[in-house]
Amino acid sequence: MTAAVLEVENLRMEFRAPRNAGGRRVQAVRDVSLEVQEGEILGLVGETGSGKTTVGKCVVRLLRPTAGSIRFMGEDITAMPSSQLRPLRSRIQMVFQDPYSSLDPRMTVSQIVAEPLRAHGTHSRREAAGLVRRTVERVGLSQQVLDRYPNELSGGQRQRVGLARALVLEPRLLIADEPVSALDVSVRAGILNLLVDLQRTMGFSCLFITHDLSVAEFLCDRVAVMYLGEIVEVGTRDEVFGAARHPYTRSLLGAAPLADPVEQRSRQRAILPGEPPSAIDPPPGCSLNPRCPLADRRCTEEAPGPTQVSEGGHVVRCHRVQEQLDLEVARS
């Protein structure tokens, strides 16, 4: 087994609503454990509000987690003071969702891409200029954009600039928070292909946060599915997309339309009723129990632990799946 670049254990992130709004705690992330291995792309999939962005923000320490631990290349960064964290920041970079607000409107492209180099002072001015030029080229932009301001660029070009800024320091880990969700479909493919190419040539690991299943299926080596601040299923791409066990994953896959209309009309789909409950007071037991067609009394009382489905690390949190597996084991 290869070394883990990022290990997240029992991460918990609570936000306290202002006192005049009731002062209640929002449990954005309740219990998340995941690993990103050397050179792999892990997809973190879930609906809006499931806490995937919060996980990303904790990993880059824009947020300080309430509990749990985050280790980057073996070093615990959960509560590291910012002075100690600064040198490590050059090795964890982030690409943001909105290419319009993630670039400073008053800086030129070359200034934006050079910023990480300046911040860490690792290169001379001349080296930095050359590196910026090469990186901009690498993300498929022409040299002409160097002196442009972000508002002169299209959404796709801006996201390439964001990618160049993140990759100019050759990080070991890239957190990509829905980098293509704000882009036109026509532009999206170009960015995704670019990301795959860069990942192969540069060899960084990537935590790719998305709500788009087709993007995750295209891009990721492994996929983790989040629901209400918890990871309900993790596995390789084939395991999650080909042999999903968790009822939530299955309904999520069923909700995504297929390209073939005949197949789309004829297939069996299990759509969950209702909406995800509020993260202020999540239901007791399994977080999916109010909506799950398979739920029984145990599901409403006891939170399911992780169940190993396969040798490779396909893990599901569901009582029903666990019982099924126990049955299979008993039969054989």
Binding site: V60, L62, L85, R86, P87, R89, S90, I92, Q93, M94, F96, Q97, D98, S101, S102, L103, D104, P105, R106, M107, E115, P116, R118, A119, H120, N151, E152, L153, S154, G156, Q157, G162, R165, L169, S186, V187, R188, A189, G190, L192, N193, F218
Partner: protein, 295 residues
């Protein structure tokens, strides 16, 4: 497992965003703003070119020519109670008036911006302290603070600049703070934090340049407020001291003669009115220009 890509996907987008000329074109479409700008330019030119424009010394008295009516030979706007040419005094008076307005605002900005940025970006204890102090200062009317400070410091040009500058601090601090708080949540600032950019660099390179437009608008509103304030201070005898003319002290000395010779009060009043109006119109125009929802 590839997603189809169109050959040469992503056409280069033409540069459609407004350039510098675009700004001017949009500004020109607002007649009040243009009038305001013209007024401001005229007042500034008059102040700069005062020695060339004025035919008489503003301070030397001609006792044979006391209180001449407007349009009398040699004195278009008449003379005051000491026989000094009213027009020349108005022209020279614009100097001290503008000086106070601009320098007081500049002083307020220079002090307020760092405090506002720090308290909006760091929040926490710094913010608490800064905000409680501004709350206390804001509880008093602007002019009352200026008058109080000027009375304590004693009347002189520097002192009223300081007094009016201090009186303006809370408003400017709050604007800089609000901008800093909004900018801090922007992705580009978050991106800088993630990259490991030092706080100092974030404050100077990301926050400050991006709050210039609202601050410019604030400046164009506080300059006329300071001008009015300086007129009031001069009127109360706390401002520019005679014989140096300022529009405020011209008003003050004119009040004795208000019944028989009203023009020596009316002209400085008009000058104050038109100047503050010009700055306010310009400020409104700039605010609209920078407000994306007004485009």
């Amino acid at each position: 497992m590839t997603i189809a890509t169109l050959p040469g996907a992503e056409p280069t987008i033409a540069l459609t965003q407004p350039s510098r000329q675009g700004w001017w074109r949009r500004f020109r479409r607002r007649p009040p703003a243009v009038i305001g700008l013209a007024g401001v330019v005229i007042v500034v030119l008059v102040a700069l070119l005062a020695p060339l424009l004025a035919h008489y010394s503003p301070t030397v008295s001609q006792f044979g020519q006391v209180l001449r009516a407007p349009l009398s030979p040699g004195h278009i706007l008449g003379t005051d109670e000491l026989g000094r040419d009213e027009l020349s005094r108005l022209i020279y008076g614009s100097q001290s008036t503008l000086e106070v307005g601009v320098l007081a605002t500049l002083l307020a900005m220079v002090v307020a911006i760092p405090i506002g940025i720090a308290s909006g970006y760091y929040r926490g204890p710094i913010d608490m302290v800064a905000m409680r102090i501004t709350d206390v200062v804001l509880a008093f009317p602007f002019l009352l603070i200026a008058v109080g400070l000027a009375a304590i410091f004693g009347p002189s040009l520097q002192n009223i600049i300081v007094a009016l500058g201090v009186a303006q601090l809370p408003g400017s601090i709050r604007i800089a703070r609000a901008e800093a708080m909004a900018l801090r949540e922007q992705d580009f600032v978050q991106a800088a934090i993630v990259t490991g950019v030092r706080d100092r660099v974030i404050l100077f390179r990301h926050l400050f340049p991006n709050m210039l437009s609202p601050l410019l608008v604030q400046a164009s509103v506080s300059i006329p407020a300071a001008i009015l304030g300086s007129a009031l201070l001069s009127y109360l005898g706390l401002g520019v001291q005679p014989p140096t003319p300022s529009w405020g002290n011209m008003l003050a000395s004119a009040q004795t003669y208000l019944y028989n010779d009203p023009w020596i009060a009316i002209f400085p009043g008009i000058a104050i009115f038109l100047t503050t109006l010009s700055f306010n119109l310009l400020g409104d125009g700039l605010r609209d220009l920078f407000d994306p929802s007004m485009r």
